[in-house]
Structures are given as structure tokens and as C-alpha cells.
Point group: C2
Chain length 107, copies 2
DNA sequence: CAGCATATATCGAGTGCCGAAGTATGCGCC
DNA sequence: GGCGCATACTTCGGCACTCGATATATGCTG
């Protein structure tokens, strides 16, 4: 498995709490990252197609609200495994550098 | 600052111990990651040019060993700051997912 | 009614990674 | 001596992904 990009990672992480539709994912990713991550729409919808193709997410249901379509996505078991793997990978990579900063406050 | 790719991150991390030449960076990155990261040569030399252009690394010295040139690179203060920043970013991102995995052993 | 938030789709440009091929040298082995 | 291998760097083309812009459509608010 090759590393996952930040947008991809946050899309999957956003779905861990339950199904969301595209725009809601953008907001959730913003919240989870403390406002740091702002998914571009072009990134999001491209990534959603790709992730669905890979089986990491799946369409949960489609609704029409106020005449506007809403597609809800769920994370699959494979997707949940992938984010967890990725989280471990990042944590370990971070340790390599952080470890040699003695006196760092771990907040 | 936008997130850093894994190859870029490991190149900078490799140089935290002192100057290294290209091929040695590949080996060091492999060691640091426990054999997981294998920098492709095309990735490496492209990234070295880019990072030098960004001022995150600099050419330390050039040697000729057995008629073969060797270019040693050092990490700059900006580079060290950037990896450290990136390590924090990854650690925080990892926490978002790992936190909801109760029962995880933090080694 | 103008402007903004919601919601999705699509496209083109740019960035960066990767594998492959090329150049060059020294060393060990048969 | 010549073959293959490890070292060391360069360059190139393809591919994946991100991003911003543009488009479309609706409802709410001033």
C-alpha cells in the first residue's frame, strides 16, 4: 500500500462517524482538522469516484432535498482498515522526526 | 503550507543526522522506515532539485570518489522546521483516527 | 431581485512520483 | 581480460492526483 494523500485521508476519516454527502464531507474534514484542511470541490468529487471504484467507500443512499440531489457515502470495512493503516503509518513516520526533538511539549 | 509527500518527508528526515549524498539518502530512508520506504531514483533527484530550489536543503560539498561524482546535501534551518512541522501535522492527523480505536496499544 | 449558501459535475493546468534507460567507474570472479 | 554487479547521477515520459474555475440549479435573506 502506498501512502494516502491528505484529502483522501480526511474524506475517509470524515465518514467514520457515519454516512455523509459530498458537501458535508468538506465541512466535516474542516472540523476534524481544526479548520486546516479545506477540500476543494474538484478534489472531493474526483476522490469520491475513485474511492468508490476502489471499494473503500460506497453509496449509502440518494436523496432529493429541495430539488437538489444528495448522495450519501459510507465507508466500507476496507476503507476503515485503510484509514487505520494510514494513521499508523503517519504516527510512525512522525515519531522518526519528533523523537529527535527532546524537550518538545506534546501539548 | 501544504502537506508534504512521503518521499519528500523521508529525504528531509534522512538529512537530520548530517549531510548525505543521493544514493545514501535512499538507503537511510529505507533504514529509518524499517525497509518500508524505497525512494525511486527519479523521485529522489527530482525532489533534491526541488528542495534545493525551495531552500529546504543545500549542497554541502561535491566530491569525486573513484572518478564518480558525489554530491552531499545538508538540511537547512527552513528544512528542519518544515519536517518538524510536517511531523506534527501527521501526528495530529493520525490522532483523529487512532483515537477512535479503543484498546490500541501505544507500544 | 441580487447575492449567498447549498449541492453536484466537469475540465484543464500543474505538481510530483515512478520506472526505465542511459552514462560511467571499480571490484570480484572465472 | 571480460562479464556482471554495486555504486552514483541524469533525464524522460507517463500517470495519478490536486486544485481552481466554471457551470447548473434551488431556496433564503436583505
Amino acid at each position: 500500500m502506498r501512502p494516502m494523500s491528505e484529502p483522501t485521508y480526511f474524506i475517509l476519516a470524515s465518514l467514520l462517524d457515519g454516512p455523509l454527502h459530498g458537501y458535508a464531507i468538506i465541512k466535516r474534514a474542516g472540523e476534524l482538522s481544526g479548520g486546516r484542511v479545506r477540500l476543494a470541490v474538484g478534489t472531493l468529487y474526483g476522490a469520491l469516484d475513485r474511492l468508490a471504484g476502489n471499494g473503500l467507500i460506497a453509496v449509502d443512499r440518494e436523496e432529493i432535498v429541495d430539488g437538489r440531489p444528495r448522495r450519501y457515502f459510507t465507508i466500507t470495512d476496507d476503507g476503515a482498515d485503510a484509514v487505520t493503516q494510514e494513521a499508523k503509518r503517519m504516527a510512525q513516520a512522525a515519531r522518526i522526526v519528533v523523537r529527535r526533538q527532546p524537550g518538545m511539549v506534546t501539548s
